[in-house]
């Protein structure tokens, strides 16, 4: 039996399968490991960032700084490696520490100063974007034997598709993310805070450290997404990835997570990413459609999902009320 709380996820999955089947009917070539491999690689950085966003939204918050942190990371890494000649691993480590601390700081402000997440992360968004411009306003190319090696690494699917290092990184992040959300106390605390922060606090959930942890995780994953983006484009550019946070939010919501927090699955976000990627792929295959159709379809899907979620809440409330009437 499908639990009503899993209904949004199941719906999303059904939409993905149906949409993919329709695409394949029109363009049989879309049913290939090549298309799937490219889809995973092209959306790797977005997927990684969306996992962090899933935790934030599950806790009832929002993180608007993601796109800027990705841009900052890519410029930072590109300048460190491309211009200053630092070893990529050191640059990666440094930038992950910075982005994690950045997330920590935002989480602490949200929790201890009582400022809404929207405002704090909006400030974070401007701050990170500004810092990126400060480092360089140019597009900085990057080349290093190790980076070339990572970019060249892949497993070959039967049928010619490639599972690249970036795609593997994203899949790994999703798997670890799903375990953290579903099988750890930290994950349980995130759901608890998203359900009702006051109740969670009265039940002994460490709200402070969990909140800081959530935004630190989101910061870390934004940094990781930035590294993935740098590897994907072989460059760093401070004007890049504007609005990626909104794509991530869209993926999370289409994946069935309630924007009000407390309900959702990391796996749902993965499906959300795949749906966005599928639409883009379809547009490429079609060749005549403007790429803005991606935005239009995402917009429609978002509307559908918000209405669907409302409907489910309304339906389960009504069923509960009916159940009570029967008891009396």
């Amino acid at each position: 039996m499908i639990h009503s709380r899993n209904l949004p996820f199941v719906t999303t999955l059904a939409i993905l399968i149906i949409a993919y089947a329709l695409c394949v009917l029109q363009f049989p070539n879309m049913l290939s490991t090549r298309v799937i491999g490219n889809l995973l690689t092209d959306n790797a950085f977005l997927g990684i960032a969306a996992v962090g966003m899933t935790f934030v939204i599950l806790s009832g918050g929002i993180d608007l700084s993601i796109g800027s942190v990705i841009a900052f990371t890519s410029v930072f890494v590109a300048v460190m490696v491309g211009t200053l000649g630092v070893h990529p691993l050191i640059a990666f480590a440094a930038v992950l520490v910075i982005s994690t601390l950045f997330g920590c700081m935002m989480g602490a402000m949200i929790r201890y100063l009582g400022i809404p997440p929207f405002v704090v992360t909006l400030a974070g968004m401007f701050l990170a974007r500004g810092a990126a411009y400060l480092i360089s306003t140019e597009s900085v190319p990057i080349s290093h034997p190790m980076i070339d090696a990572i970019q060249g690494f892949y497993f070959r699917f039967p049928g010619g598709g490639r599972l690249t290092a970036l795609a593997m990184l994203m899949l790994l992040v999703f798997i670890v993310g799903a375990f953290v959300a579903g099988r750890t106390r930290f994950g349980a605390n995130v759901y608890a805070i998203g359900g009702n922060q006051q109740s969670a606090e009265l039940m002994g959930v460490p709200v402070g450290s969990t909140t800081v942890g959530i935004y630190a995780l989101s910061g870390f994953l934004s940094g990781l997404a930035g590294i993935a983006y740098t590897l994907y484009t072989s460059s760093g550019y401070s004007l890049a990835t504007v609005g990626v946070e909104l794509d991530a939010i869209a993926a999370v919501v289409i994946g069935g997570t309630l924007l009000t927090g407390g309900v959702g699955l990391v796996a749902g976000t993965f499906v959300g990413i795949l749906i966005q990627g599928l639409i883009q792929t379809y547009i490429v295959f079609d060749g005549t459609l403007s790429s803005w159709w991606t935005k239009i379809v995402i917009g429609i899907l978002l509307f559908v999902f918000i209405v669907l979620q409302r409907g489910i809440i309304w339906y389960s409330n009504r069923k509960l009320a009916e159940g009570r009437l029967k008891e009396v």
Binding site: H3, S4, R5, F179, G182, R183, T184, R185, A188, N189, Y191, A192, G194, G195, N196, Q198, S199, A200, E201, L202, M203, G204, V205, G262, V263, S316, L320, G323, R324, E327, V328
Partner: protein, 508 residues
């Protein structure tokens, strides 16, 4: 009560907020294997005492011993670790989690660092089986009824703490059958030696389940008594603060001003709303003060909400001057010349950041409609008149009203309605939380208004206040109008008798 091995013993507890005393020198003792009811009207200090015992507030004075050892819990978690668990009325568990997740939040069984869901399910089943519940622990908590949620919350609290269980209004939204289910759980826990504190305002439930009762009033201890030796009437008099003695009415002089013969222009017939107040008849004559008495939760405020159109009645008719009217909203009620001063002055009455003048002009502006704004000069004149006639202090029309004392805020709200020259003014607890001087002034004002021909409905939990101002008193119990007293019958004694009588028939 000098038993040194009492489970929980609090002595001389005192607490003040911003210089206002909420609890004054209260003693409280809880034995092992006892269900102890804590009673009192709104603002009596029940919740303050509970919050001190459970670590939400820290006490200013007094000592607290658990098992003979002095303790000072600084947080809910600390109280829990000491053995004191709480189940709150509303803010309770997390509806978005499953039953098992709720039971084990923060202490989930783990294997290799990951939550062991199978073990958690098994333990949840075992835990709930002790309470006679066999439910799907993997279903969301929100899919179960309030009664089951309540038992899950109790199971969690007892499993976590295990010595003292505090229940804050646990039966407020349960039906009779569910209440019985909850009580059998409580009785079993009592047999296990747990000490249980229950806050409720249903007297029948107190008698049904509790062993002893402690009554608080105005932040002071009235007494702790064994219920088997305490007649209902005496308990009510402990709560309402009136020793049983005949009190003569203090305003005989006004009696003549109300002509009994006159046809009542404002009439409610069979007026009621399911689940809120049972249908009642009420006629209100000009220059008459109708008091509404009853214990907390008896339907006092609900009656006022119906009269003022905040809640819509689903039975009966209302008429003014023999014309049927539909009170579909407060706006409609205001158009008919009704006014209402709510109980929660701070949240429902004043707009704190608005000036005194703006607050006074509010209802008049609402009646005129937004198309005809009241100029700031008119507003100031209006405010100045009322500040003078009602003696509102400080006499500053432009001061934000939140900086005024409670009594002066109440006068300003009265002024707001008087400005609309209402024919019926409903006052819900008009003297709550104001000092004695202002208290007397407001009562005097009520008397003056009715001599000017205005009709008033006054709701109060202070019986002396009601008997002092009201010509007639409607007594409410369990959301029904159970008695109407008029003339010489209006005494605190009679009101309490009426409440007790209805409670007794209820129990029978």
């Amino acid at each position: 009560m000098t038993d040194s091995t009492s489970l929980l013993e609090a002595r001389g507890i005192g607490k003040a907020f911003l210089g206002i005393t909420a609890l004054d020198n209260v003693d409280f003792t809880l034995e092992r294997g006892e269900i102890h009811a804590l009673l009192g009207e709104n603002g009596a200090g029940k919740s303050t005492l509970i919050k001190i015992l459970t670590g939400v507030y820290t006490r200013d004075h007094g000592t607290m011993r658990l098992d003979g050892v002095e303790v000072t819990p600084a947080s809910v978690a600390e109280a829990q670790a000491l053995g004191i668990g709480t189940v709150y009325q509303e803010v309770n568990l997390l509806e978005n989690l499953t039953v098992a997740e709720n039971l084990f939040l923060g202490r989930q069984p783990r294997k290799l660092g990951l939550i062991d869901r199978r073990e958690m399910r098994r333990r949840s089943k075992a835990l709930l089986a002790r309470y006679g519940l066999d439910i799907d622990v993997d279903a969301l908590l929100s899919s179960y009824s309030v009664a089951i949620r309540q038992i899950v919350a109790i199971a969690r609290a007892v499993d976590l703490s295990g010595k003292v269980l505090v229940l804050d209004e646990p039966t407020a939204s349960l039906d009779t059958h569910e209440v019985e289910m909850l009580f059998s759980v409580l009785r079993r826990l009592r047999e296990d030696g747990l000490g249980i504190i229950i806050i409720t305002h249903f007297l029948n439930q107190v008698y049904a389940v509790a062993d002893r009762v402690t009554v608080l009033r105005n932040g002071r201890l009235v007494g702790t008594r064994r219920l088997s030796e305490l007649p209902r009437l005496e308990l009510i008099s402990m709560m309402l603060g009136r020793e049983l003695q005949h009190i003569t009415r203090e305003h005989q002089a006004q009696e003549e001003t109300v002509a009994d013969t006159a046809e009542a222009p404002i009439r409610f017939a069979g007026y009621g709303k399911r689940g809120s107040v049972a249908p009642f008849d009420l006629d209100i004559r000009p220059g008459e003060v109708v008091g509404i008495a009853g214990l907390l939760g008896s339907g006092r405020t609900e009656t006022a909400f119906l009269l003022f159109g905040i809640d819509r009645a689903d039975s009966g008719t209302a008429s003014v001057d023999n014309q049927d009217i539909a009170l579909s909203s407060p706006e409609a009620a205001i158009a008919k010349g009704f006014g209402f001063c709510p109980e929660e002055r701070k949240t429902d009455g004043i707009i704190g950041d608005f000036s005194v003048a703006d607050n006074i002009a509010l209802a008049l502006q609402a009646r005129q409609g937004w198309a005809k704004p009241i100029s700031s000069r008119e507003k100031r004149t209006l405010a100045e008149n009322f500040i003078k006639s009602l003696d509102i202090r400080p006499a500053d029309t432009e001061r934000p009203i939140k900086f005024l004392s409670g009594g002066n805020q109440q006068k300003a709200i009265l002024a707001r309605w008087l400005a609309t020259e209402p024919r019926l003014l409903i006052l819900d607890e008009p003297t709550r939380g104001i000092d004695i001087g202002a208290h007397a002034e407001i009562l005097k004002m009520i008397e003056r208004l009715c001599t000017e021909g205005m009709s008033l409905v006054v709701i109060s939990s202070e019986l002396e206040e009601l008997t002092a101002v009201a010509h007639r008193v409607i007594v409410l119990s369990d959301r029904r109008h159970v008695a109407e007293l008029s003339g010489d019958q209006v005494t605190a004694d009679n009101i309490m008798q009426a409440i007790a009588a209805s409670a007794r028939t209820e129990a029978a």
